[in-house]
């Protein structure tokens, strides 16, 4: 028997703090778009970065995003959290630095890739877009 129940606020927060890879959902004109995304959460905001492209276009057209993070052992043992909020672009230098530091601390393996991206692009921040989402709603479900 598999029973699914709502997670408590403490459980959803803990899962978001533990996680480092989630799925960002955007939508535009009724068309959804979902991509895996490394992130960091500081208990207030989620931070992630991406290069300019489809995602940034979607988020420019519709700021509302859904960030989903899961822990799945198998089909009968899982939990999944969804954080809904507006994706805001982080542009101030001290904020971008803090956001990048948080993301890289949470995802140390990203560093080689990040260093590659840094060449040329890092200084011209317009190639990398950093976002912050302050969720207005967080909820989760898990198997009992």
């Amino acid at each position: 028997m598999l029973e699914v129940k709502e997670m408590s606020q403490g459980e959803t927060l803990a899962l978001l703090l533990r996680g480092k890879l989630g799925h960002l959902g955007c939508s535009r004109d009724g068309h959804p778009y979902v991509v895996p995304m490394n992130y960091a959460y500081d208990a207030e905001c989620l931070y992630f970065f991406t290069t300019e492209g489809t995602k940034t276009e979607y988020m420019a057209a519709n700021h509302e995003v859904c960030f989903q993070v899961e822990e799945i052992a198998d089909a009968t043992r899982w939990s999944s959290v969804m954080a809904l909020g507006r994706a805001e672009r982080v542009t101030k230098p001290e904020e971008t630095e803090r956001a990048m530091r948080l993301i890289v601390e949470r995802n140390p393996d990203l560093t080689p890739a990040l260093n590659e991206t840094k060449i040329g692009a890092w200084k011209r921040l317009n190639h990398i877009a950093i976002y912050r989402v302050r969720p207005h709603s967080i909820h989760g479900r898990k198997t009992a």
Binding site: M1, L2, E3, V4, L21, H23, L24, G25, C26, S27, G30, H31, P32, Y33, V34, V35, P36, N38, N62, E64, V65, C66, F67, Q68, E70, I72, A75, T76, W78, S80, M82, L84, N107, D109, L110, P112, A113
Partner: protein, 140 residues
């Protein structure tokens, strides 16, 4: 180096996986949930109890499925399949789809267990996502 995956490679990943994140649009906003599915004849088949995602897809049938295989942060594949939600309602098709899903996920989902426990439980919805476009990227 991030590279594009061929259509064949993308379809192969869709066919080999059982877990996807379903992206749909609920009241104009994106909504993402993990689902179990099986890839069958160009469609992803799944089932669900009535609820927010089913309402969202009935309202706005354009959806996407994101499927990945992640070894680590520098070795991964991710496929995004776009398609249209269709409810499977004819009894024959429902039975076939249900059997296929149950054969792959014998203990899966609250659907069967709740039904077993509660005769008044709502009937599960069987649906397919008819996939019309697939993109994939990989690293490593």
């Amino acid at each position: 180096m991030i590279e594009r995956m061929s259509k064949e490679e993308s379809h192969a990943l869709l066919g080999s996986q059982r877990l996807a994140r379903l992206g749909c649009v609920a009241e104009g906003e994106p909504y993402v949930v993990p689902i179990n599915y099986v890839f069958d004849d160009g469609c992803a088949l799944s089932h669900s109890l009535p609820g927010r995602k089913i309402n969202a897809m009935r309202e706005s049938p354009r959806v996407c499925l994101q499927v990945d295989e992640v070894a680590d942060q520098l070795h991964w594949k991710s496929v995004l399949a776009f398609g249209t939600f269709e409810e499977v309602s004819s009894p024959d098709e429902r039975a076939r789809a249900f059997n296929l899903l149950l054969s792959l996920f014998p203990r899966l989902t609250p659907v069967e267990s709740r039904i077993a426990e509660d005769a008044a439980a709502p009937p599960p919805i069987v649906y397919r996502i008819r996939i019309d476009r697939v993109t994939g990227i990989r690293e490593g």
